[in-house]
Amino acid sequence: MLQINNLSATVADKPILKGLSLSINAGEIHAIMGPNGAGKSTLAYTLGGRPGYEVTGGSVTFTPPTRHPREGGDPSPAVGNTQGQELGSRFRGNDESVLGIDLLTLAPHERAAAGLFLGFQYPVEIPGVSFVQFLREAANAQRTARGEPPLSGAEFLKLAREKAGLLKMDMDMLKRPVNVGFSGGEKKRAEMVQMGILDPSFAVLDETDSGLDIDALRIVGEGINAIMRKPDKAVLLITHYQRLLDYVKPDFVHVLAGGRIVKSGGAELALQLEEEGYEAVAA
């Protein structure tokens, strides 16, 4: 689903990613662990297309599965051949999408519409804009880009209520301004509610476990499983700790150090890292 090939990227002219390669198939959950400054967040932001993260080499090919509109609470009938939509043809189950999309050529909002979700390590506060308003606009902007009909207010609220319930988040919190006054844990849960509503094919979750207490960690872990543990979806979990991986069992664990993957293994690698530290394992 996601093919990262020899990716290099700089931030403020400083090379951070130095030839990173990673292949993630549909149905898989990959965890990336690594010491501070290894380039984990840079990888997440580069995949998301954040301004200031300059790709200097390599490629990222994203091959989202053909979308099944019935999934994810979509009330609309199966997508027909909508012609003339801005990005429509790139997301159909046609030859083009089988070949994959050059992710790096897309603007951030186009990547989202293609099915990418970026869970932020530090979700941004946006005073004056409510979650409900912003998420409905975002969901409908994605749907329009894919040539799908927009959700009505009632359809959206039903979907939002369902996903908020999944993360044990009070629906009233989604009526508040985006992340304003939320605790660290609430912000991370709100990220997962957003993921549930937007229903991506591929999620990059940047330290979604940081700032969570034990109960919240379990709720977020179960949320990730419920939303993303599906044959046609995949996840890249960026984390410092083994804890989250107790709830979200990774199929593969990679160690990122010095801007590239230095070691890959199964779930047991995370345990070994926890036991022995990065230096010993990645050496």
């Binding site: 954040r50 909002h109 989202a112 932020f120 941004v124 004056g128 912003f134 975002a138």
Partner: protein, 244 residues
């Protein structure tokens, strides 16, 4: 009545005005509004016509009167709205204004709020969004007369520049001749938060829509609580759509 001479740059209240445009509409008639004792009135001014517009509202609030003024200043090549408010004892004056400019528009709101007697309250909220080479100005003087004890005044002035070539001028000014008064003022000129924009875009909002949403939130406070808040917000939103 003699016609006043056209102001020059040396007039502080016209320092940033487009004097050539002003000449076309000079002299500016005073529009006098009296709010009798104990009564409440509101007024929404929407300036979205083309060409040059200059208005001068003179509002007198008798004891215990209240006046709620909202201004959307967004259309004209030159749009100037001057407001003088004189507050009697215990009177309450609210001004919420948004100035939305692009191109080479020059928009200005010039206020002089005089607390003439004790315990009057004034609240001014000014939000400017400026694109292109537009200029947005707020000159706001609050005068507290001798003996106007218990005066409570606030000015909140914020401007958002969407391009490096836009200009915002802001001058909150206090002239206080009484003790025991509360006069707060805050002023900030900034740009859209890049992190916030990326956050919204990463969820699928195209850049224009993300900007529009953030700007809508930015100006919302100016119209919050207005009798025709929805209408004003909708008009402002439409104009913001053209700015981003």
């Amino acid at each position: 009545m003699t016609v006043a001479a056209l102001p020059t740059r040396k007039d502080e209240a016209f320092r940033y005005a487009d004097l050539d445009a002003l000449a076309g509409v000079w002299p500016v008639a005073r529009e006098e509004i009296l709010v009798p004792s104990g009564q409440s009135t509101s007024l929404s001014v929407v300036e979205d016509s083309e060409g040059a517009v200059a208005r001068h509202l003179v509002i007198e609030l008798e004891a215990g009167a209240s006046f709620d003024l909202r201004i959307l200043n967004c259309g004209a090549a030159f749009g100037r709205i001057a407001v003088d408010a004189q507050l009697g004892e215990g009177a309450s004056f609210t001004l919420g204004a948004a100035q939305l400019g692009s191109g080479v528009q020059v928009l200005e709101i010039v206020t002089e709020v005089s607390h003439l007697a004790p315990n009057a309250v004034s609240r001014q909220t000014i939000r400017s969004v400026l694109a292109g080479q537009a200029t947005g100005t707020y000159l706001g003087k609050v005068a507290v007369a001798r003996g106007a004890l218990g005066t409570d005044s606030e000015q909140s002035v914020r401007a958002m520049l969407l391009s490096r070539t836009a200009t915002a001028n802001a001058k909150p000014e206090l002239e206080i001749y009484a003790d025991d008064v509360k006069c707060a003022h805050g002023c900030a000129v900034g740009e859209l938060d890049a992190q916030g924009l990326f956050y919204l875009e990463s969820r699928g909002l195209p850049p224009e829509l993300a900007k529009q949403l953030m700007l809508q939130a930015f100006i919302a406070e100016a119209f919050s609580g207005a009798a025709d808040e929805e209408r004003l917000q909708a008009l402002a939103l439409a104009r913001l759509g053209e700015l981003v």
